[in-house]
Amino acid sequence: MEKEIIVSAQNLSIGYRNKGENTPIHTNLDFTLRRGELTSLLGPNGAGKSTLMRSISHLQPTLSGTITLSGKELSNYNEKELSRTIGIILTDKTQTGGLTVNELVALGRQPYTGFFGRLSKQDKVKIDSSIQAVGLSSKKEAYMAELSDGERQKAMIAKTLVQECPLILLDEPTAFLDAASRIEITQLLHEIAQKENRAILLSTHDIEQALVLSDKIWLLTQQGLTCGTPEDLVLNHQMDTLFEGKNVRFDKQRGSFSPTLGYQKQFFVTASEESLLHWGVNAINRLGIGQASTPQGHPQLQFLDKNRILYKGEDGKETTFTSFEEMTKTLAEF
């Protein structure tokens, strides 16, 4: 069964309006976001990711076309309705070090509380369960300043959860995090999208993670927006368009970008197991040596295990290396 569409855009133009003059960054954009799906927006710097995010969150007016949110045009929403429909997480600097996790998450209830911001019993229950959902229950009374960067981001996510918005937008939520927290946060968002049936759109530079955990990928380049399932985009060579003209190539096997190196020499490489082959090729690539498809006319490199590497030159002379370090040192001198 197809999931419920929450956002759709037709013929959308986004960009800047200055003194009545439009400077479009993108025109003719069409897209949809569905409940229960995690969508990752990928694109090089300057492609307009933030502009697109801001346009969808109504922080920036669109130039033409329409965005429909839950069956109603975005421009017809008032502030109160918007605050209950779209929750955002930005990279803006905040002054929240002196708030406890509880107090920070409670701010997310503001769209529902009265003039004085007093919390009802139900509000408190919702705050508690959101803090639990992001796994911060043990730190409820801790000040934000006492948390790690990853935990702070989790608290912000909990704040967005109590806002009870069907749509959550996150601008580079993993930008300042270490590798472990990045995976953890992306996984958490994936889980929230499914369990709580929310539509989540995040922009990120973390392509590997995005391809693993996103239900949909949006590729935004100067040419426009391409949407699809990660696997379709990878196998249809769409990922290659992401950094076109740059000196990088997309490795379909690994699901990541790596530098394009010009190879003057080629070796025929074999190995006893896959990870050994992968890292063996990695090592010779760095030395400017490519991988040959046939043994004919090429030196051969045989990785028996990590401490036994057999090298056979074109002249038939054989050398054995006992470590990668020894191998790279010797090969570099050739």
Binding site: S57, L59, E79, K80, L82, S83, R84, I86, G87, I88, L90, D92, K93, T94, Q95, T96, G97, G98, L99, T100, E103, L107, G108, Q110, P111, T113, F115, F116, G117, E141, Y143, M144, A145, E146, Q163
Partner: protein
């Protein structure tokens, strides 16, 4: 629980406030026996007439003025720090006090102390008050204008200081062309003092301060949202423009009323919010704002007490005392900012 601890802090600060208020009534440059003071305060009319006058007509209004001014300036500082997302904002730093001073100078030096509006003529202190409010609001409007153009908060502070300088030089020019008498009274006013509000003016003074304080308490919800920054606050349904205008008008009312009556008082607005945050540890305005009111009132009463230290030899100007208390706190905060949680 942090809430419990904060309650004790609030009770403690309340007790300090009462103690300082009483001290301001019992001690002054003229020594009056405590027993007599108590008798006079209890309404005993048989006490010495000159003592009665000093306590009821001078010390009591002065203590009340200090209490209200301290609260007003501190709340102004807190509101500015949150609104501009900058812990170093304050009514004197951003040039708001200088703007108010310029308004006062215009009234005192050019118009001879009164403003004519149509057939109505406000004279004396009301004219000064209106001049101060208009001056403060003008500077605030300029700062607001720049805040939408420049991004960095440090830049905005420096622009505030520059606007303050321009207002200062306008004041100097006014002084140059004014009468000696006018210059003298303006100079005395500029030294700062809590003794400028007479009992008959007290209703106007306390009225405008109380309106400002109540308004600030009603703005706690947007203030808390603004801790996240403007775009987050907007996403939480806060009407940014309206909230900011309300906040700045409140600041204008509070700091201008104080400046009009007591002169431009430095450092209380800047330092007290930091004292309050350092003591409580929280940035949550639900507790921070009321606590800042108590702390500000206490600090001002303490400063006023310090002013009368020389005894019968005279009174120290207020602006000679406030930096001694305020500046070390700001230096402490700046040096330790990486360890202080509300900065992070």
């Amino acid at each position: 629980m942090k809430e419990h601890r904060n309650r004790y802090y609030a009770i403690g600060m309340g007790a300090i406030l009462l103690l300082l208020f009483a001290s301001n009534l019992f001690f002054g440059s003229l020594s009056i026996p405590c027993k007599e003071t108590l008798r006079i305060l209890m309404g005993d009319e048989t006490a010495k007439e000159s003592w009665r006058f000093i306590i009821l007509e001078s010390r009591l209004p002065q203590a009340l003025t200090a209490l209200l001014s301290g609260a007003a300036l501190s709340v102004s500082g807190l509101l500015l720090q949150t609104t501009f997302n900058n812990p170093l904002a304050g009514p004197s730093i951003l040039g708001i006090n200088t703007g108010a001073s310029l308004g006062v100078a215009l009234v005192m030096l050019l118009m001879g102390g009164s403003i004519g509006v149509g057939s109505l003529t406000f004279s004396g202190f009301l004219a000064v008050l209106i001049g101060a409010i208009i001056g403060a609001l003008c500077v605030m409007f300029i700062i607001l204008l720049f805040s939408s153009i420049v991004k960095g908060t440090l830049t905005l502070l420096i622009i505030g200081i520059m606007v303050g300088y321009i207002a200062s030089s306008a004041i100097s020019l006014l002084n140059f062309f004014a009468t000696t008498e006018g210059v003298y009274s303006y100079m005395i006013w500029g030294l700062g003092s809590f003794s400028g509000v007479s009992l008959s003016q007290m209703p106007y003074f306390s009225g405008s301060i109380l309106i400002g304080l109540i308004a600030s308490l009603l703005l706690i919800k947007p203030l808390n949202a603004l801790l996240l920054g403007e775009r987050y606050a907007q996403n939480l349904g806060i009407h940014i423009k309206r909230s900011r205008n309300l906040l700045l008008t409140t600041v204008g009312l509070l700091s201008a009323s104080t400046t009009a009556f007591c002169g431009p008082i430095a450092f209380i607005g800047l330092a007290v919010p930091h004292i309050a945050r350092l003591l409580l540890g929280t940035s949550n305005h639900n507790t921070l704002l009321p606590f800042t009111i108590l702390t500000g009132a206490s600090v001002a009463l303490l400063c006023n007490l310090a002013c009368s230290l020389p005894g019968e030899n005279g009174i120290i100007p207020l602006n000679a005392v406030t930096p001694i208390i305020g500046a070390p706190i700001i230096i402490y905060v700046l040096v330790h900012q990486h360890k202080i949680q509300y900065f992070n």
